[in-house]
């Protein structure tokens, strides 16, 4: 293990080494700082994520959760610190190259092409895997055609997986919110990511939709071994599905560990769930 910047591993990092069975972390976020003008969104946050883990990032509004996800997906670049993917420095990759590195994400506000069909929206997620040139694609001949068939097969498998067969040809903008979120997950999956970043995948959903989404997240992790980092406010869901939890507050990491550790951590309870600790577990 290399902990070049931070000296000896902290307690939480040791927990991670145990969780990851001693394997090299897939994603290492090392002491990153990001500021927007006077606002310091992230102040020295470090997170290790191991392959196959489901990691939840929680924290009050404005804690820097989305900024952290944005930094990993290349939308924002840290002013300090490093981001390593599979041990290689990826701190300054442009967002356009992120997908080819095996990172896919969904957005807090659904970002689908509203006028396009569900099928086409998910097909967009395959873009990073398409190789055909302008000429071939223009005439839809040779490589482009073979490729299209291959990609369509992958997309169909995802459609089947997410149980949206009946919506294949429906235009994305007409779908209810919960289903749009599911389509967005489909598009992210279409990139066949190693690391999937989900920004509030269950926001605004009813209980049933949340249960469905939670099941899909677990199934993705289970079926393809995809590493998942998600931001979520529903503590019930977070506690149920994640292997480990990172707690941010005011741009700093205030706790990290298994759901049980975090749940009982007095710092977390105070910062995130409020002062009244009697029997409360959030919700």
């Amino acid at each position: 293990m290399v902990f070049c910047c931070n000296g000896p591993p902290s307690k939480s990092e040791r927990t991670h080494i145990m969780l990851g069975n001693g394997r090299h972390p897939q994603l290492q976020v090392q002491d990153i700082h990001i500021g927007f003008g006077g606002l310091r969104a992230l102040q020295g946050v470090s997170v290790d994520v191991h392959e196959g883990e489901i990691v939840a990032i929680i924290g009050p509004n404005g804690a820097g959760k989305t900024t952290l996800l944005n930094a990993i997906s290349g939308v924002h670049h840290p002013s300090q610190g490093r981001i390593l993917l599979d041990g290689q420095d990826r701190t300054f990759i442009p967002p356009s190259r992120v997908a080819t590195l095996g990172i896919a994400r969904t957005f807090q506000n659904v970002a689908l092409f509203r006028g396009m069909s569900v099928l086409d929206n998910i097909m967009v997620g395959r873009h990073c895997h398409m190789r055909a040139g302008v000429l071939s694609a223009g005439f839809f001949w040779g490589l482009a055609q073979r490729e299209e068939i291959r990609h369509r097969a992958t997309v169909e498998r995802i459609i089947d997986f997410l149980e949206i067969n009946h919506l294949r040809k429906a235009s994305a903008g007409t779908l209810p919110y919960g289903l749009q979120k599911r389509v967005e997950l489909g598009r992210a999956l279409a990139a066949e990511p190693k690391l999937l970043l989900l920004d509030e995948p269950m926001a605004g959903m009813n209980l049933e939709e949340k249960e469905d989404m939670a099941r899909f997240i677990l199934d993705v992790n289970d079926e393809w071994g995809t590493t998942i980092m998600l931001i979520e406010h529903d503590m019930g869901v977070v506690m149920d599905i994640s292997h480990s939890i990172v707690v941010l507050d005011h741009g700093e990491k205030i706790a990290e560990g298994t759901p049980d550790d975090v749940r009982t951590d007095p710092v977390v309870v105070r910062a995130y769930l409020g002062e009244d600790t009697e029997g409360k577990r959030g919700g």
């Binding site: 099928l119 097969a153 169909e156 498998r157 459609i159 997986f161 067969n165 009946h166 040809k169 079926e223």
Partner: protein, 638 residues
């Protein structure tokens, strides 16, 4: 057409030889594409599975329980069990765990085939109560990664082991098929039964094949026909069309991708022949009406105009009149402008014949479909006689009858007015229920339990269940189902329960159709949150009142409905209120809603409080309290 084999597996082998890889036997839409299997492949799949089952110790007379949606794999399993001399026992895929448990256990099934995780979970939940089950096979591996039980095998695994078993046992399946005879049991269908526990109807290969041959003399099918397999596999109607008729004629069977995609899949396939219970036709009609209502002025006017033209023409055709030249010209114009495109949208364009049965169908539903050129006909039948007994003939369709008998089948009416049937399709008996079997037969005739009569043309008309026909206090004959059907013909009313046995007058409990009434409410800016909320809206009561007054106008004075309530919940098979085929379990419902019924007879009570237990999809139950308005139906306005 004379059958080339006396059992279903023999027919399959003959088809595989005759059509080989040249013709499609079954298709399934998967991954967005129709995946076709030829007759030769069908046989191959059946053989591999049969060998796999044999390796697991499945023998002659063993039962294979099958639970899931219509999938080729499930049909293969059905035939594979028969090939080994065993019997498939299909189970309703939406049955709750306790029902599944009863059927699996009562049928002595040794092996259960469950389609997917959902069904496997259901079986695992009751695993302890199924001591006779040795293996559970699943088809769809999705989500099954972490299930590891020694008795749980995948469909592919069983087939794989079957192929290995086949190498050391060449000709095993062929021999087993040859040993099979027409008199062997082909299937045990558990009828959901409106009273008591389900009963397993035992049907032989000869029952099924002979009935199908008779049926084919009325409605001919060929290898060029396309059938849609989307009705529950546990219903004899599906077995009859998707297996027996397909095997006899070579017609291709198409399995939809998903229950939610049936309509699209229907349109993509364009079946040439279809069978659907009235509910499905009614739904189609309501949807068309909603769409027409939402369409632009031009389309709406055209539709309205040509639909009334079509109705006129259809009525004349039914009466055997050619119709005036003007009407015929208009009908042709309508065909180009309205009927053809409408049929195309509904996926009915290639349809030669469509049949409906299992319940009464509204005359306007038949008229509508016949108006747009769909040859919709009623048939009457039941599981105990291998599905159809009577069917309307082309160009001799009457709105209220179910048509004359198919060849070889005889019908007569007993002194008590009960419909009796005789023919090659009469079942062998109920599995492990000899007493019930004895009751079902009288002197070689099948007592259907239905009250009916033959009209002057020999068409059978069904009135009600015999045991439900009773009298009001003042003596009028009260046939609840007759009244309920009249009510249900309204597109706003989904279910109705009429009460009147030994009572001074008739009252009714109504289930509104959430989709249609919901749409109606939206159009009138009536907000609602749920079914229960919508049901109690005064406007909805007004709407239903009008519908009831309309029905009352067609009833004799003593039988008119005097009071009604709209129930706070839909009658649901999970609550045992209706069967899986949506037949009312009358006694049970009367008992359950006793308070409401009593309140309706207590003059002047404006509302009734109910506490009802509701069963959720996952089997949990909870109690909800509500008060229901009781509305009186005046004599005016009818």
């Amino acid at each position: 057409m004379a059958a080339v084999g006396d059992t279903l597996p023999k027919l399959l082998m003959a088809n595989a030889q005759r059509y080989g890889h040249r013709r499609t036997a079954i298709r399934e839409k998967e991954y967005g594409i129709w995946q076709a299997y030829s007759w030769a492949q069908y046989l191959e799949q059946v053989k591999d599975l049969a060998l796999g089952l044999a390796r697991l110790g499945f023998q002659r007379d063993d039962k294979l329980a099958i639970i899931g949606d219509n999938r080729p794999q499930l049909y293969w399993a059905l035939v594979a069990a028969e090939a080994l001399g065993g019997m498939p026992v299909p189970i309703y895929q939406d049955a709750i765990a306790t029902e599944v448990q009863y059927v699996i256990d009562h049928s002595d099934a040794r092996v259960v085939l469950a389609e997917d995780q959902e069904q496997v979970d259901k079986v695992l939940e009751i695993r302890d109560k199924l001591p006779k089950v040795e293996y559970v096979i699943y088809d769809d591996p999705k989500g099954m990664r972490h299930y590891s039980f020694p008795f749980l095998l995948s469909f592919a695994q069983v087939q794989e082991q079957g192929r290995i078993f086949g190498q050391s046992h060449p000709g095993y399946v062929e021999e087993a098929v040859h040993e099979g005879q027409g008199e062997d049991l082909a299937i045990i269908n558990y009828t959901s039964g409106t009273t008591g526990v389900p009963k397993g109807v035992m049907l032989t290969h000869r029952n099924l094949i002979a009935t199908a041959e008779s049926y084919l003399q009325v409605d001919l099918l060929s290898a060029r026909d396309e059938i849609m397999a989307y009705l529950p596999m546990a219903w004899i109607g599906d077995t009859f069309f998707s297996v027996v008729l397909s095997f006899l004629t070579g017609a291709a069977v198409n399995c939809p991708e998903d229950t939610a995609t049936v309509r699209q899949d229907f349109r993509e396939i364009g079946p040439t022949m279809t069978f659907a219970p009235p509910r499905i036709w009614e739904n189609l009609l309501s949807q068309v009406q909603v769409k027409i209502g939402d369409a632009g002025v031009l389309q709406r006017t055209l539709c309205k105009m040509f639909l009334s033209v079509g109705m006129q023409a259809a009525t004349q055709r039914m009466e055997g009149k050619p119709g005036s030249l003007g009407l015929r010209l208009l009908t042709q114009l309508g065909e180009w402008l309205v009927y053809g495109p409408l049929r195309d949208q509904l996926g009915l364009r290639r349809l030669r014949a469509a049949t409906t049965g299992g319940a009464a169908i509204g005359p306007e539903v038949i008229q509508f479909f016949r108006a747009i050129g769909v040859n919709l006909k009623q048939l009457y039948g039941m599981t105990e006689c291998s599905a159809p007994a009577t069917v309307q003939r082309d160009n001799a369709v009457k709105l209220d009858s179910t048509g004359p008998c198919i060849p070889e089948v005889e019908v007569k009416i007993s002194d008590s007015g009960e419909v009796l049937l005789r023919g090659p399709g009469l079942f062998v008996g109920y599995y492990k229920a000899p007493e019930a079997t004895n009751i079902a037969f009288t002197d070689g005739w099948l007592a259907t339990g239905d009250a009916g009569f033959l009209d002057p043309d020999g068409h059978l008309v069904i009135i009600d269940r015999v045991k439900d026909v009773s009298h009001l206090i003042e003596g009028s004959v009260f046939a609840p189902q007759y009244i309920e059907n009249r009510l249900k013909f309204s597109s706003y009313i989904k279910e109705a329960v009429a009460v009147g046995h030994a009572r001074p007058y008739v009252v009714a409990m109504i289930n509104i159709d959430l989709e249609i009434v919901g749409h109606w409410a939206e159009k009138r800016d009536i907000p609602y949150s749920s079914y229960a909320d919508l049901a109690q809206k005064p406007e909805v009561y007004g709407l239903i009142l009008q519908e009831i007054q309309r029905v009352n106008a067609s009833l004799n004075a003593p039988l008119r409905i005097k009071q009604f309530v709209i129930l706070h919940k839909e009658l649901d098979p999970d609550d045992a209120e209706i069967t899986r085929t949506r037949k009312l379990r009358r006694r049970f419902v009367y008992d359950k809603y006793q308070e409401i019924i009593d309140a309706m007879y207590a003059e002047g009570v404006p509302e009734v409080k109910v506490r009802a237990t509701v069963t959720y999809e996952d089997g949990r139950t909870s109690e909800i309290g509500r008060s229901l308005k009781i509305s009186a139906v005046g004599d005016g306005g009818a």
